[in-house]
Amino acid sequence: MNEIRVAARINGEDISRTVEPRMLLSDFLRGPAGLTGTHVGCEHGVCGACTVLLDGEPVRSCLMLAAQIDGCAVTTVEGLAGVAGEPDVGALHPIQRAFHETHALQCGFCTPGILLSVAAFLEETPRPTRDEVREAISGHLCRCTGYHNIVEGVVRAAELLAEGP
């Protein structure tokens, strides 16, 4: 099968790989790019687990082809806090810290996608109401938390972000 070259800036790093034209973005990130924090739950764009930021906008990486990110900037969960090595609670991004403080994750499988959606949401809506938060995360399925603590986590994240670093 013919192959094409994809060059993109992923989590601030320029990478270039040769892939099959049909390769999904989610498979590209998890495979050739080595970023397995992006999870795949349904492969038909409903569960939201595979959400990443493409030039700052949340997208479902299972509904895009790797070829479509050529020349773009992508942020995955690994790039959210920019911490390398063994993760430490103190080095987390404020949204991650807020999720930790409010027990907004259980199995953690859907969490990376939610974190990225929330990052984009809080950019636009820095002081959301709880109803706005529910609307904003309603494109994500979580089977463990019942969403209650995710809502609390997003509200807390807004507070932490407002406090600044």
Binding site: H39, A49, E78, H100, H103, C107, L115
Partner: protein, 774 residues
Amino acid sequence: MLRVEDARLLTGRAPFIDDIEPAGTLHVAFVRSDMPHAKIRSLDISRAADHAGVSAVVTAEDLGDLCRPGPVLVPPPPIDGAIFNARTALPLAREVVRHQGEAVVAIVAESRYVAEDAAALVDLDLEPLDAVADLDRALDADAPLVHEDLGSNLAAHVRQTKGDYAAARAHADVVIGRTFRYDRGVSAAIENRGVIADWDGRDGRLTVWDTTQAPIPVRNALAALLGLPESCVRVVAPFIGGGFGPKIMFYAEELIIPWLSMRLGRPVKWIEDRYENFFATTQERGQTHESELALDAEGRILGVRDVFLHDTGAYDPYGLTVPINSQCTLLGPYRVPAYESEFRVAFTNKPVVTPVRGAGRQHGVFVMERLLDFGARELGLDPVEIRARNLLGPDEFPHDHEILYQDSAPLTYDSGNYRPSLEEAARRIGFAGFDGERAAAAAEGRCIGLGIVNYVEGTGIGPYEGARVTVEPGGTVSVVTGVGTQGQGHFTTFAQVVGAQIGVDPGKIRVVTGDTSEFHWGTGTFASRGAVVAGSALHAAALSVREKILQHASRALEVDPEDLVLEDGEARVRGAPDVRIGLGELASRANPLRGAVQPGTEPGLEAAAYFGPARGTTANGVHALVVEVDDETSDVTILRYVVVHDCGTVINPMIVEGQIHGGVALGIGNAFYEELLFDEFAGAGNASFMDYLLPTATDVPAIETAHLETPSPLNPLGTKGVGEAGAIPVAAAFAQAVEDALRENAPGLEIVDIPLSPGKLFALRNPADGGEDS
């Protein structure tokens, strides 16, 4: 205390199954039946086998001796007169397929993309057979047969009784009889299943990574089936993206993938996709109950009779666990002098039924709570009053229900204090003032209603779990246990249990679960038992290590053990905290390079311990909610939701509340959104997240929780399980609330079928408009 596992999960660094890929891994795709019942007329794999990049194409014939029915995982309890006909699936179907999604061919290729390309080249010719789709007709004499050799579709027949129901009924002032149906949904863990196997032919060792809730039984089964010593098979359950029951099975893929790795000498990986998950992963629900409640004039229960049919799908590998849970949990927190319960289990051509969070308990609770609602209506009692009159009192424990539970032990409640739970829930939901609130809403043209129901949950059953606690010379405390973990916060809860005994910050304790190379005695995570059974084993191991620490510290510091306190990772002399020694130093001294270990002692600061409860503990609780029903569209919105629960001593309130929240959300899905819809041929038409509606953040309300703590006398921690509690009573509460909301606009409305949905509720209220389902 906050969770210690969060940082890895939040940064995407926690390894889930699909994140694991040894060098040189081959990938598998399965060809599965797209028909619910069919004869395999012909199967041609030649084009697939010739496809570039394909390493192997495997059918039932290739499996040889391994192509035999899988194990029955849970033996049925020894109930007098019980019939149980075991029929389990072959790893790959041969001659006939009995449900959609049954695997027929496995294709191994250099990538999943290529494996799926080749799957499309397999020529599988299926001849459709008549299918058993309707549970209510599955046992009819003229029903098609799922298993021809059996002569009928009867998988099991069990009758358990207590007291004399016929006599109770004869004395009753009111007898309420209804038919109830509770239909199918899926567990829908957001992570699908997966298996990776890596056979090392030089060492004769097999390593398997598996999304299992029970790695030790999987290891034992694999060793037996593949002819390997158990010590040469390592099964690792990595981080798992939700379990909810179906990940406890022993599936065909768990055998085929390791076998392929041994045969090909390469690591082999299979990750289930979402479509497969709707059929190849087990699911639950599907019962029809004919039930009767006999009451006296004051609303006191004289007896209950319940005859039900249970749909087990095409096979019954998990024994009788689900229907027995329904049978036993029906009794709830109530005094029931006479109980006559009989169920038949039927094979159908639908995917296999095994426990899903709640595991049959919801059906029993739904039946009993609905009967009480209808009884209360008949007698003019309110829903709280009729329940309060029938609760077991705090002095009635242990309470023997005189029937057997799923663990083969007598159904005996260990402890409980039910009335305060009911009163607290009634207070928090605003039951006393609700008539006024409902009337005020009605004046604005809004229909609101309240539901309040009880449940009990048998939890924390045996047989046993084990654990080992080690203080390492560097001071690291390592804790291992055999149960798998799927997001329940075990890393934190288990560290808390151990840390409390040896004076170490739980954040500094390394917990390993679900790796048979680290610990290989135990059964798994199911029946809301992790914190109870594994937690108690950890507690016992920690106490032994504490004893060793005190002995060594007493020698080192030359004081009596009674004068020592353990805190901050050190042994300190009480009243003289500067006289102290670190646990790491003590661990080094306990493992000398020269000299001798004291006679009668063991080296190191380490202990293993086991805990096997004689029977399970009984948790309980009350759910109360207020709903608003749109009078025009019949859409239902939950306005508030209260859970008061009692799971004995709470180790980590934050984690317990999280378990409740998640359970309630799953229960709301089951009650109102989720239903796998089968056609008359047993084919499912909505097997995608586009069409199978999981509740989202806008469907689930904020949930108010309160804990009461009635300790269990059956374990040293006093804990009871909580994992499934949130999911169990939701449908019953939901139905009561919707009826209450429509008491004026649809008087006499009775909700006896779950799942409800806006479409079904609309149809119930408007039978003339046709019963178009949503």
